[in-house]
């Protein structure tokens, strides 16, 4: 009997906790998610670089290839000035991602500072930050972007500053809620009772708790920023018309909508959707990895 007991023990454990099988699954699942996120981000970096390289070629006009329908040589076709739409789209995507990057960094920093102040500061500070969030959410996002862009006299800075200054509200909410939840959890109280200083608690417990969510929130800011940039440029408040921005490309194609040149609108739009989906994919995969519940599935 005594010899049988140790042999039975692992069997009981597996039926209770599914330990060996699900462990293998966690590793493979996590790797799949990680590879997904890394690949998506790598493609996005490639788009940025390719777009910068392609920008001069994208502005080249050649009337010999005017109004060409999509072909192998010009996969997205050519416009009425004989510009290659594929190169123009690539340059536009690159520009959008770079503006999105700048805007997302600024917005994320604002969110980090305000969210931390709200969660760790006094009740008054919390009230002020919450009120500011409500204020930002009070005006429709697009209207606010138009107002800021107008206040700055339109153009590049109008759209960039506008997008940078308006995307922090939702991420601030996330940071605030995460810090608050972490601060109220028992292990922080235990650490305090054990004599850990406030600085040590912040560095050892709160930052590692909040940072993953913050990173995910940061990446998920991009799709919003890029879509808003395209929209505001499309309306005529954003990037100047001579730049190959996606909003400009689509706005120009509006003029030719009744001539049947469908490729001017369809392909740039589809590429924009693909780019946004790539960011979503990367952010979603990272979220599953850092989230305490889903990373065990």
């Amino acid at each position: 009997m005594a010899e049988l007991a140790p042999a039975q023990e692992p069997v009981v454990q597996t039926t209770l906790f599914h330990a060996p099988r699900s462990l293998a699954r966690i590793i493979s699942n996590r790797n799949v998610l990680l590879i997904t996120a890394v690949c998506a981000l790598a493609i996005l970096v490639a788009i940025i670089v390719a777009g910068i390289v392609a920008t001069p070629a994208a502005q080249e006009t050649d009337f010999a290839r005017r109004d060409l329908a999509p072909s192998l040589a010009h996969p997205f076709g050519c416009d009425w000035l004989g510009r290659d739409m594929f190169l123009r789209t690539l340059a536009g995507l690159s520009l959008s991602i770079r503006i999105g990057l700048l805007a997302a960094v600024v917005s994320a920093l604002i969110a980090l500072v305000l969210g931390t102040i709200a969660a760790l500061g006094s009740k008054v500070a919390d009230g002020i930050v919450t009120w500011l969030i409500d204020l930002m959410m009070g005006v429709p996002h697009l209207v606010l972007l138009i107002l800021i862009s107008y206040a700055l006299g339109k153009g590049f800075w109008g759209v960039t500053v506008g997008i940078a200054l308006t995307h922090w509200a939702s991420l601030t909410r996330v940071v605030r809620a995460e810090v608050l939840q972490c601060r109220q959890s028992p292990y922080i109280a235990v650490a305090g009772k054990l004599g850990a200083s406030r600085l040590r608690i912040a560095a050892k417990h709160i930052v590692p708790f909040v940072f993953p969510q913050f990173l995910v929130g940061f990446i998920l800011l991009f799709p919003h920023a890029i879509l808003h940039e395209a929209a505001i440029t499309f309306l005529g408040f954003g990037l100047p018309p001579e730049l190959p921005a996606l909003g400009n490309i689509l706005s120009e194609s509006m003029t030719y909508r009744s001539t049947g040149m469908w490729w001017l609108a369809v392909f740039p739009g589809l590429s924009l959707i693909a780019t946004v989906l790539l960011f979503d994919l990367a952010g979603g995969a990272l979220r599953k990895i850092v989230d305490a519940r889903t990373n065990q599935e």
């Binding site: 919390d126 919450t130 009120w131 409500d134 204020l135 959410m137 009070g138 005006v139 429709p140 996002h141 697009l142 209207v143 138009i146 107002l147 800021i148 862009s149 107008y150 206040a151 700055l152 006299g153 909410r173 996330v174 605030r176 809620a177 608050l180 939840q181 109220q184 959890s185 028992p186 292990y187 235990v190 799709p223 879509l227 395209a230 929209a231 499309f234 309306l235 005529g236 408040f237 689509l250 194609s253 509006m254 909508r257 009744s258 049947g260 469908w262 609108a265 369809v266 739009g269 924009l272 959707i273 946004v276 989906l277 979503d280 989230d291 305490a292 519940r293 889903t294």
Partner: protein, 362 residues
Amino acid sequence: MARYVLFHIVKCAVLLLAVSFLCFALVNASPIDPVQANLGQAAYINMSPEKRADLAAYWGVDAPLWESYANWLGGAMQGDWGTSLRYNAPVLQVIAERTVNTLMLMAIAWVVSGLLGFVLGIAAALHRGGWLDRIIKGYCYLLAATPTFWLAMIFLLCFSVLIPLFPIGFSLPIGVASSEATLLDALHHLALPAITLSLVGVANIALHTREKTIDVLESDYVRFARMRGMRPAEALRNGCWRNLLLPALTLQFASISEIFGGSVLVEEVFSYPGLGQAAVTAALGGDVALLAGIAVISAVLVFGGNLAANILYGVIDPRIRRGEGLHDESGRGDIAGIGGIRPSRRLGGRQFADRGEVIGRG
């Protein structure tokens, strides 16, 4: 209940005041000179310096921001929102004419996207992992990534240019006076913009309702109902759907802001004469008074939605009416505090992880 409603009305009023100041300050911070913008370049150059100074004083160019804001606010309270330069009419009149068009568009999109999203979300959750769930989820992710104005353009291209089912733009047939146009004409012109806006709005509400429905289906009370022999769909129909209604309503009222933004883009693409198109025209043409007026109206719409949502919670959820959910400890605010904005599955995971850590160390 009265105290609860009053609290939210006062809160909204204060925020609205701040928003109106923000809008006014932004519009006035523009490098575009109102005197020149309102007179035109030629008239400005031919004018004597004294006349220019007179006009500058009239437009309040040199007055401090606070003072001109107080003037504007005082006028706005009495119904004088200034004069629109582009439309050569009082701002309030321009807004009133266009609000009908925009509100019709927004109301259709709001109701259709809300109902469709709610139903699709529940359907996806009931068939979790199945092909229906995958189709609905894929549709939602794809739509969330689609620029509204691009979808509008593609619809215009497909259903007005290639297959001429719908008119190419405007709210009435070209060359027909507004008094002669029939209701059918108006609806025919409204259809494609409204369809576009409705389809875009579905994604968010469907995904959140799906999350929430999965939560409810995994709850103890649904498990109990299933043990008594009910199917999940039956359990939802027999009362559990009420738990889904609250977060869906939160989201739907919060989406008024998104829908207004979407209507700006859709109206621009379809040349539909609504508030959004007027806002774009005003901002491109330096029409300060109209731009400020429309911004404030859009804020009123958003706050009206929030206020309605907060009051409706009280009607739907008795806990909030009694003030239990009003100032919750976690400090997530009155809306998110009841698990509305953020999918609660994530929060649940967090708490679970915390407990695990404490037990593990103990």
